[in-house]
């Protein structure tokens, strides 16, 4: 019997859940600066995330998908991409997007029901949030094709969830990336759940990474709660892409510690034991342990960071809450380069309706 060696899926980890190294540390991580940055960004991410949830609870934000437990994936993406690379996110990438140039206030604007959250020019040609599952994956392949056609040395990074890998869109997109040898990295945030649907009934294969093999793309799993492993694997894949050595599929094993969104109640479908267990593996504590051990972190630094994070997030909230209302014009002006005559008429109609409404409001 012959065996095809390409079918084995590697699993990469450096820092286990206790914050211990499981293999020799990579050179870059011997220095403290980047690891400390990762730690700070993750703490910041958690603050910003918790704030979003409380804004939602008090009616100041719409339905919001928390990144709780997925901070490591977010901060590594935010750091390993070059400015001229392109990030094609899904909707659980807030901090990665903020590190790419979006403002935290923009994150709140978007989930607060305001289109301007996606308008900040500082993110360059990164694509906006993508809500229809897996539809962004072919965009990433297209961005990568554009880069290849122009012969540039840039890479694309695309995220999606475990559920997203069940859609044709995902498989079609990675297939083409394999055929055309495109400079793109597909990063699956396997947080074990797609709303109430567990990973086990999403796909019958033991790993999601192996879908990459079917597309002829190198594929592997990485501990998605381990910033060192993530950094190693994702930056290497991006470097391969920039050098036109083709695409990579990375399955990052994480866990969605929160509800799917603020509209969800995960106690309906998952056990407390599972959740408690997952908290043992979350990304922030293990890095903190490790940095402590190395003598890079202590209680007073922690206190300062917590205060700083709370402060910074509060500034973003203030900025968000002071956002002026959009005007009726904004509903109409951005559909075509020029406003068609018929639509202009509807715009005046909408303006009049608005005045009518305001009058009715005053009377009422």
């Amino acid at each position: 019997m012959k065996r095809n060696p390409a079918c084995a899926i590697e699993y990469v980890q450096y820092l286990n859940e206790k914050g211990e190294l499981t293999q020799p540390i990579p050179k870059w991580a011997e220095q403290s600066n980047l690891l400390l940055r990762y730690y700070r960004e993750m703490v910041m991410a958690r603050h910003a995330d918790q704030k979003a949830i409380s804004l939602q609870r008090t009616g100041k934000l719409g339905t919001y998908p928390s990144i709780l437990g997925q901070e490591a994936i977010n901060v590594v993406i935010g750091s390993v991409l070059n400015k001229d690379d392109v990030f094609v996110p899904y909707y659980r990438d807030h901090t990665a997007m903020v590190m790419r140039g979006m403002k935290q206030a923009d994150v709140y604007r978007y989930w607060g029901g305001d289109e301007r959250g996606s308008a900040n020019p500082d993110v360059g040609k990164d694509l906006p949030y993508c809500v229809p599952i897996a539809t962004q994956v072919s965009h990433a392949t297209g961005v990568a094709a554009a880069i290849k056609i122009r012969g540039e040395q840039r890479a694309v990074l695309c995220t999606c969830g475990d559920g997203a890998t069940s859609k044709g869109d995902f498989l079609e997109a990675i297939n083409l990336a394999g055929v055309w040898q495109l400079p793109v990295v597909f990063l699956i945030n396997n947080n074990q759940w797609a709303i109430s649907v567990p990973r086990t009934i999403q796909c019958g294969a033991p790993t999601l990474a192996q879908k990459g093999i079917g597309a002829g793309i190198p594929a592997l799993q990485v501990d998605g709660n381990d910033v060192i492993a993530l950094h190693e694997i994702v930056s290497e894949a991006l470097q391969r892409a920039r050098l036109h050595k083709g695409a990579t599929v990375i399955e990052a094993i994480s866990y969605r510690l929160g509800d799917h969104t603020t509209a969800d109640d995960a106690t309906r479908y998952r056990t407390n034991e599972e959740l408690r267990d997952a908290w043992q593996r979350e990304p922030i504590k293990r890095l903190q342990h490790y940095l402590h051990q190395r003598g890079d972190w202590d209680e007073s630094k922690e206190q300062r960071l917590q205060a700083q994070a709370a402060d910074q997030v509060q500034q973003a909230v203030d900025e968000y809450l002071q956002t002026p209302q959009q005007s009726i014009n904004d509903l109409f002006l951005y559909h075509y380069e020029e406003l068609p005559a018929g639509l202009a008429e509807q715009l005046s109609e909408a303006d009049m309706a608005n005045q009518l409404q305001e009058k009715a409001g005053q009377r009422g």
Binding site: V131, A164, G168, V197
Partner: protein, 329 residues
């Protein structure tokens, strides 16, 4: 009936599903989060516990798959009731619905049919994220071979869904989620279905006919009440069965009132309202005292929730359109 028997629209959907599944073992339910979680709106709650995992299935996340698998099941005589979680996510299933579900009967000259229902919540007004609030019923109504049904009250949800499940053809059953829990009605669980080929006249009137469906029925009824205070008598018709369209009920009314305003949340151009207006023009032109008017969403992308109040037709806009109509002739 006591207060306890009064249920919401989404509970009526649930009650109808329970009834249909208990009466016919060919009825199966599938979709994302429908089994263990009971649906993100709880429309399918309790079905898995009662009818088991063989008949109530959580699928992988794939809408094209859900539609295609339903077609396959239906071709063998099962009666799948599939849920697409939000209308904004149905488009991947479009090829299956348009190229197969809608055509199977015709292309096999009746040898194979698709007795399936696709339930799908739609419409704005619940502060949902992007892509969760659209009203694109016209896309489906345009397709020969599909039926499109939109209930706007608990009783109609129950009766129409039962008919939809019994019906031998593919049906897009669109549930206006803004009014999922807006009102309660007594809905006896008696298995009485409602016809799929008639409009429902909700209020009699003599001066103007207001035609609407879905959540906009709420503002339309409010407008009719406010108009009555000013001695304008409005008849209100809930189209409910969008396709095939019961134009006769609308014609009958408009011939009586001479005036008509069509109200819908969907964008204005090329929509279901346009079809109704065209048919009125063809068949009631000489009975009209004023041009038929439309009060609709604008031809813009459904705004995110901050601005959706400027998009969804308001009672004031409906009243203003009626006033304009009354001023003419």
């Amino acid at each position: 009936m006591t207060e306890q028997n009064r249920i919401t629209l989404v509970e009526a959907v649930n009650q109808a599903l329970h009834y249909a599944m208990s009466k016919d073992e060919n009825v199966v339910v599938l979709g994302e989060d429908v089994a263990v979680n009971g649906g993100v709106f709880r429309a399918t709650v309790g079905l898995r516990e009662r009818f088991g995992i063989k008949r109530v299935m959580d699928t992988p996340l794939a809408e094209a798959l859900i539609a295609g698998v339903s077609i396959g099941m239906a071709s063998q005589g099962l009666k799948p009731v599939a849920e697409i979680q939000f209308l904004g996510f149905i488009y991947a299933a479009m090829e299956q619905l348009v190229s197969h579900a809608a055509r199977m009967r015709n292309r096999t000259r009746g040898r194979i049919t698709c007795p399936m229902v696709v339930r799908v919540p739609f419409g704005g007004g619940i502060h949902a994220p992007e892509h969760h609030s659209e009203s694109t019923e016209a896309l489906f109504a345009h397709i020969p071979g599909l039926r499109v049904v939109i209930p706007s009250s608990p009783r109609r949800a129950y009766g129409l869904l039962l008919s939809a499940v019994e019906n031998p053809d593919p049906i897009i059953f669109m549930e206006p989620k803004r009014i999922y829990r807006a009102t309660k009605q007594a809905v006896p669980d008696d298995g009485k279905s409602l016809p799929l080929d008639t409009c429902f006249t909700l209020r009699q009137g003599t001066d103007v006919t207001l035609v609407s469906w879905g959540a906009s029925i709420l503002e339309t009824m409010q407008a009719a009440k406010r108009l009555a205070e000013r001695d304008i008598s409005a008849e209100v018709i809930d189209v409910a069965c969008i396709k095939p369209l019961d134009i006769d009920t609308i014609l009958y009314s408009v011939k009586k009132t001479g005036r008509c305003v069509v109200i819908h949340e969907a964008a204005r151009s090329f929509g279901v309202g346009a079809e109704i207006v065209a048919q009125l023009h063809e068949q009631a032109f000489f009975d009209l005292l004023a041009p038929v008017k439309r009060v609709t969403g604008y031809d813009v992308t459904m705004p995110y929730y901050q601005m959706e109040k400027h998009y969804i037709p308001t009672t004031e806009r409906i009243i203003s359109a009626v006033e304009q109509s009354m001023e003419q002739a």
